[in-house]
């Protein structure tokens, strides 16, 4: 069977033009998708049934037992941590937040290791952003700062920027100027009109220098700023100032390097400064396909986008204190529920070590690095393949993912809903 307009549940682009051929419960081929999408749809590392660790080995168990034991572990904990959420749909995320409130837990999503600093900067100075459709149809200057879309978001350039013709940009490849700022040459920098090579950790100073030039204080800029010559800084500033519509996209090279959220704040303030002269926007290159959704859900229920601590019964938020990496590094939490994420692969070693030392339960379709740190794993349906649900694209546009076929796996809502019911019953 050939299914059209399939939404890809891999990265924040949420490409919605895939054509997928399926036979029964097997994906045969993927058209229009990038290699990441193809691997996501055709990969086969699914866990067949719930497992629990007994002694040094795994044993097969039932959903009933796994769910009941998970509820007991969470109820017994004094500082449970519910982490992940970015690889599932918003309906499941909603149950997660309510579960955290009921338990007095800390709930955090993968923003904590990606664009959390972007959100902190936005909370300080706002967000002059726009949708990807606006960029596609209007932008004649694109800046990728600390991002390598060709490898991390392979269709971003072909759908929205460099290679995508738009309503007001008839010949994108000729009419759009692309600037790439990074600490090293990448596949993306090779096709840029201007590549700005910054010394590692020097982004803040370069952004400050650009702000000064745009503000008319360029005479103070020294000969070189963090490896970038004065001439190039003026050239970049002039390209931006001569744009009819400019769009800055930034990645983890900016959010997770020295200065963190202050880098993003500086970039937003540069954008605001450019808006005194022309139209400019700035947007994060979100990684997980529904990490933006988790920020939305957390915010609309608790007021905070990630790292929400319910231990006092009300929501408290303080990145650096209530973020998962910090909680795990300080060995604060005494139980952890990981949903639709893989901290075992992404977190520092000390954090993974603490996950292995406490009762950790993972709800995830696949065997991954976190499996080896867990006591229980409950497999579920993959959203966008054998489950459907709502996700948010990197520009905040909600998109409904499709179910391509049915399997016997329950989805995240079913499993989390049962855990919530058991906890609710115990709490009275």
């Amino acid at each position: 069977m050939r299914i059209e307009d399939v939404v890809c549940p891999f990265c924040g682009c949420l490409c919605d033009d895939l054509v997928v051929s399926v036979e029964g419960t097997k994906v045969l081929s993927v058209e229009n998708g990038c290699t990441l999408a193809t691997e996501k749809f055709t990969g086969d590392h699914r866990l067949a049934h719930p497992i629990r660790r007994t002694g040094g080995s795994w044993e097969k168990t039932t959903y009933d037992v796994a769910i009941r034991e998970t509820a007991e572990i969470l109820l017994d904990a004094e500082r449970p941590l519910l982490y992940g959420w970015s690889g599932t749909f918003v309906e499941a995320q909603t149950i997660g937040v309510h579960l955290a409130e009921l338990l007095g837990a800390v709930i955090d999503n993968t923003s904590t290791v990606c664009h959390g600093p972007s959100i902190m900067a936005i909370q300080e100075v706002g967000h002059p952003g726009c949708t990807l459709g606006q960029v596609k149809n209007r932008a004649d200057v694109i800046v990728y700062w600390g991002a390598n879309p060709i490898e991390a978001h392979p269709r971003h350039m072909s759908r929205y920027t460099t290679f995508a013709d738009g309503f007001f940009v008839k010949s994108a490849f000729r009419d759009r100027k692309v600037i790439v700022v990074d600490i090293r040459e990448t596949d993306s920098s090779e096709i840029a009109d201007e590549f700005v090579k910054v010394t590692p950790g020097g982004d803040y100073a370069v952004l400050s220098a650009l702000r000064m030039i745009v503000r008319g204080k360029g005479e103070l800029v020294p000969e070189k700023v963090s490896g970038v010559t004065r001439e190039q800084l003026f050239r970049v500033a002039n390209i931006c100032l001569s744009a009819r519509f400019g769009a800055i996209f930034f990645g983890l090279g900016l959010t997770m390097s020295r200065g963190k959220y202050k880098n993003i704040r500086n970039a937003i303030e540069l954008t605001e400064e450019l808006n005194r002269h022309t139209k400019f926007t700035i947007s994060p290159m979100r990684g997980h396909w529904n990490v933006y959704g988790s920020n939305e859900v957390f915010t609309w229920i608790t007021g905070y986008p990630y790292a929400v601590d319910f231990s006092r019964g009300i929501a408290f938020y303080n990145p650096g204190e209530t973020t998962s990496v910090d909680i795990l590094r300080r060995k604060e939490c005494d139980a952890c529920l990981v949903v639709a994420s893989d901290p075992g692969a992404h977190f520092p070693r000390a954090c993974a070590g603490h996950l292995a030392s406490i009762p950790t339960v993972q709800i995830d379709p696949h065997v991954n690095a976190t499996t080896h740190l867990s006591r229980i794993q409950i497999p579920v349906a993959v959203t966008g393949i054998d489950a459907e649900g709502t996700a948010y694209r990197m520009d905040g546009v909600p998109i409904r993912t499709r179910q391509l076929f049915s399997t016997d796996y329950p989805d995240d809502v079913a499993v989390l809903g049962r855990i919530y019911s058991l906890v609710k019953e115990a709490k009275g």
Binding site: G104, M120, R211, G259, R265, N266, Y317, D334
Partner: protein, 261 residues
Amino acid sequence: MRVILKTRPRKKPHVPIEAEGIIPQNFLRKNDLSVYEGNRERHLEDLFFVTVEGPAVSPDQVEVILTGDTGRIKRVGEYMNAGRIIIEGDIGMHCGNFMSAGEIIVRGNADAWLGREMRGGRILCEGNAGDYCGAGYRGEKRGMRGGTVEVMGNAGDFVAEYLSGGEVIVHGDCGDLPGVEMRGGTLVIGGNCSRPCGNMTGGTCMVLGDPGELLPSFRRNGSTEAEFGGKKFRMAVFRGDVANRGKGTLLVREDLKSSRP
């Protein structure tokens, strides 16, 4: 009155305790104080051996002494407005949040957000302080507004972020971006740091050690003489942050202002 709080052994010693109730004025009347251990509400006596010596008729006469494993206790001294707290060892995050008067002495190290949004009084940390010493809460446009925080050791990143008043003195080194977004008050760094005062709009920051790389957005504005620790130094004066139309003052030692980027 002297109140001695000695921590009891805990089954899960890494679970943080939130104890904003530990302020001198709360011990004047024999209130039943509660604290939180993770998501569990506890009586003060469940987590501390409490000893009270002598009388007091006002909070000024109350001295609270914390001993034992105190490094995970958060929010001690929050909204404190009189008296004294002495912490014999380390202290957890947010010590002295919003305090307006009185004194806190930390004999060991203090975790992050020491003196957060402090209005008055004095905090002395004899060891090291963590990140955001004398800063504000997330999204808050004003950090510390009055009083003095003195750290005898080193401090972490983002020290005195959004500093709006009062004085932060760090005798040792600071991490990255001390005085970032500061708009008033005084920050003195006795040791080294990197990228001081990004985006500052007001206030004065003095760096007696190596400031590392200075941001390009500061304009040289002559030189002056300054005194710290009984010594006199020739200081280069910078004004900025120009990128932010700032009118703050950054003083760095004339002989150490090594590296403009």
